[in-house]
Symmetry: C2
Subunit: 393 residues, 2 copies
């Protein structure tokens, strides 16, 4: 069974849970604007003319599309009914609505959730014009809650891809430890990872982030060609890939031993241990039913209790078709995170757990793991980093 | 000077022509939803948080974007002012509007024009919420006319890319003539072209269309593995590529001589000559100031005067960043083409000229050329096909 088949079946289940009668994804020329939901609805198929992808609470799966696109949808076998048109989609769409008589229709737009906001404004205007003389015009709602659930709950096939993406990220991190040399710049590490990814016919799920030593620029800045590995440096790398469209997102730490050192300085060890303890605390808290912010809170407390400055980002985000995915976020109740941190955690969601502390004179100490939420807790998808990787260069 | 610099300068000129004070392209996470206008506004730069790209009638070029994206925009040197924010774009955007005081603001959405409709509905709602207590809320218009002009009028650098795309398409067509063999299927020809394109590190601007003999399925259907070249067949191939993001779109004709033939049958010759005459007629008519439908009309008349059934598509569409581009279409005044065929042709627009007739027992006879509109006419970008390519297989 394909992922698309699994996800469209799952959508029916979620429609019933949420009390939504119909999910309508309305698109045109998907080679130009690709609605992020299409990955779950179509198998590598492009739609040219205006098209409607319809899934109902009762399990009907219907596509209305232009004549030349119909055949590809039919052969996929996902849809019970493929209705094609030559002139205008309006009559066919109204006929389907009049048959199904939905009391509410979830449409592919969202104020907050980027991954649920694929409808263009021009298409919104078109949809409203088509429905203006019907009762359906007042029944349109956002499909964002449906998509938060659908993107979050990973099927077995999805999880398999994420596992493979995680495994490959680990290989990349291993290569960093193996190739690191005194004098190697942040940029050289980044380039090595990009080359390694490409050689293996994969793509990165985001540009790799490389932080070397105390003078690195923290965040999403470009890797520097001036900042080079020296003794006593913490080396942090954030590297993930897409495997069959599914993302991993992992950070690993190396430490370059100084002359005469066999173990890192106390401050480095204490920083690393604090990061690991905070991840442990988050992982222990993470289970179905807790709200996102609660998980963030326990990890954040470990960091502040240890006397470090708190990290100014969320403890964890979901991964999936995107490297930031789903609805629920494991983050603090800050204004900018809005309702995402109030969502309850569900079984089958894949999260990152990541946080950092900064160590004076040594650099940025940050670890990131990937986990999947189980029935009563969570399971690590990554082979956890529990010890600092020590490099004698 | 880069294409982006040229196009943003051109936008200022068009704003003045159209009496528009401000062009505002409002986007977020452009790796997910990529507004088609961004190709003309940014050089391979991704924007993550909500961002506003602003060009004013007076030549101001301003970007407001998240902190981590600002540096990449600054180094491009296109924008006079890059304003970054941490929490919310609202204050910065209102400050810019209050400084420029535009009496109208062209926004990136369009009912009709897909290439001018990059704003998602969620982003439209956000924009309206930001502006709800200001006078600007009632000054929003579509940027579709601005974009029709901007996409249409090719700069020298754009034209150079299109010329290279056209040249490469011709190589592909030459390869079809060279490799065609009795028994070769439509699908094999398609696969050969895809392989050839990939080997040369280019991408096709659309899936190649292959029509072999009288039993081919006409239109955008998939090439058949069952329909194979035999003597007496017309072989039509429609093949274009992207060169540095700019498209070509060319059709060429081969004819497989039958035993004892040195020239094709009279019907085949008459069909081919009619197609060429119709292209000639269209090219003669094509010049700045004529409306799109007028050019279509003269070519269509050649076909119907010769007693053939008229072709059920437009004579020509623009090419550029997309294989169907710009605003003006050289098509008949059919309802589905709307106002696109009423636009006046402008200097610097690149068009296809394409049409077909069907020849009983031999197949689909269609030629497509690419032209650029000059000051007082048009110039062929392609090395015209004036003779049917004859294959002795």
């Amino acid at each position: 069974m394909s992922i698309v088949k699994q996800k469209t079946d799952q959508a029916v289940k979620i429609l019933n849970e949420l009390g939504i009668d119909l999910w309508l994804t309305y698109v045109r020329k998907t080679s130009e604007i690709h609605d992020p939901s299409l990955y779950f609805l179509l198998e590598d198929t492009w739609l040219t003319w205006q098209s409607a992808i319809i899934i109902s609470k009762n399990g009907q799966k219907i596509v209305i599309c232009g004549r030349y696109d119909a055949q590809n949808i039919e052969v996929s076998g996902i849809y019970d009914k493929v209705i094609s048109y030559d002139q205008s989609i309006k009559e066919e769409l109204l006929a389907v609505l009049n048959e199904l008589k939905p009391k509410n229709i979830a449409i592919n737009y969202s104020f907050d959730n980027i991954a649920a906001d694929g409808l263009t404004h021009g298409m919104w205007l078109r949809l409203n014009k088509m429905l203006e003389d019907t009762e359906y015009i007042n029944r349109l709602i956002s499909s964002e809650n449906l998509l938060a659930a659908l993107r979050g709950r990973k099927t077995e096939l999805e999880l398999e891809n994420i596992r493979k993406a995680v495994d490959f990220s680990e290989l990349g991190h291993k290569k960093v430890s193996e190739t690191a040399r005194i004098g190697m710049s942040e940029e050289e590490i980044e380039e090595m990872l990009l080359k390694f990814t490409k050689e293996n016919n994969l793509t990165v799920s985001y540009p790799p982030l490389v932080h070397v030593g105390p003078s690195t620029s923290i965040g999403h800045g470009k890797a520097s060609s001036d900042i080079k590995i020296k003794k006593g440096d913490l080396i942090n790398v954030d590297y993930g890939v897409f495997y069959e469209g599914y993302a991993s997102d992992l950070q690993r730490m190396n430490y370059v031993l100084q002359d005469g050192e066999d173990i890192p300085t106390t401050e480095v060890r204490r920083a690393f241990e604090t990061v690991i303890k905070a991840i442990n605390a988050g992982a222990e808290k993470l289970k179905p039913g807790v709200q996102g912010w609660e998980v963030d809170c326990v990890a954040r407390k470990v960091v502040t209790d240890a006397g470090y400055q708190e990290f100014m980002h969320a403890l964890g985000h979901q991964i999936g078709r995107n490297v930031h995915d789903g609805g629920c976020l494991l983050g603090p109740r800050w204004e900018k995170y809005g309702k995402s941190v109030m969502y309850k955690v569900e079984e089958g969601q894949a999260f990152t757990l990541e946080l950092h502390v900064y160590v004076e004179n040594h650099g940025y100490c940050s670890v990131e793991e990937d986990v999947i939420v189980t029935e009563d807790g969570c399971e690590f998808l990554s082979d956890r980093q529990l010890e600092l990787s020590l490099l004698k260069l």
